[in-house]
């Protein structure tokens, strides 16, 4: 019996990327609420370092056990990775003792386009 649980491709709690490029029109209040959550998640230096640690880790995924050099305790690392997941930027999968986190490429691509299309205009 395997304890590996394959995640569905789209989890219902994932914050979906939204909104036109920022140059197209002012965001509505609702769009801004959703999108700000994602930027806010990356707006903390420790969280940003952890995010880049996961994104650049071998195989594009990492567990708390792989991350030890950001100068915060393991519970703090877990807390921040959970926050990044809640913001829709990471997905997670439990394998045995550890939860493995992985970057959500679609969400990041949507955030990137929001900015780069704004920059191109």
């Amino acid at each position: 019996m395997s304890n590996v649980k394959v995640l569905p491709l789209l989890e219902s709690e994932t914050v979906a990327p939204c909104c036109p490029p920022l140059t197209e029109r002012p965001l509505t209040a609702e769009e801004a609420e959703r999108t700000a959550l994602m930027f806010k998640a990356l707006g903390d230096p420790v969280r940003l370092r952890l995010f880049s640690a996961v994104a650049s880790h071998e195989g594009g995924e990492a567990c708390v056990c792989d991350i030890s050099d950001v100068g915060v305790s393991q519970p703090t690392v877990s807390h921040h990775l959970k926050k990044l997941k809640e913001a829709g930027l990471l997905s997670s999968e439990r394998r045995g003792t550890w939860v493995y986190y992985r970057v959500e490429p679609a969400v990041l691509a949507a955030m990137g386009q929001l900015l780069t299309r704004a920059a191109a205009a």
Copy 2:
């Protein structure tokens, strides 16, 4: 006599974009500090709406006098625009009574690439 002051192309107080794509390697503490400031600036719903209002305004610039529909007072609008400028996302130019804000395309493009290259990996 004109009261239009042309800004230098790069202001010394501008937060310069930095860092490789997030998939390349974990950010250093210093890189994360700098970059998190920019994400944090967009991590507030009101600020994000104001930013898109400036970015999508005719001519790519706007003053407080152009923005009236985000449901906050003019002093609050001014405060948030100043924060966006401090984060390097907007530049400003005083013309007569008003300060006009404009999107910093290079900074946004750098932020976008940080994310989209991370997404592509």
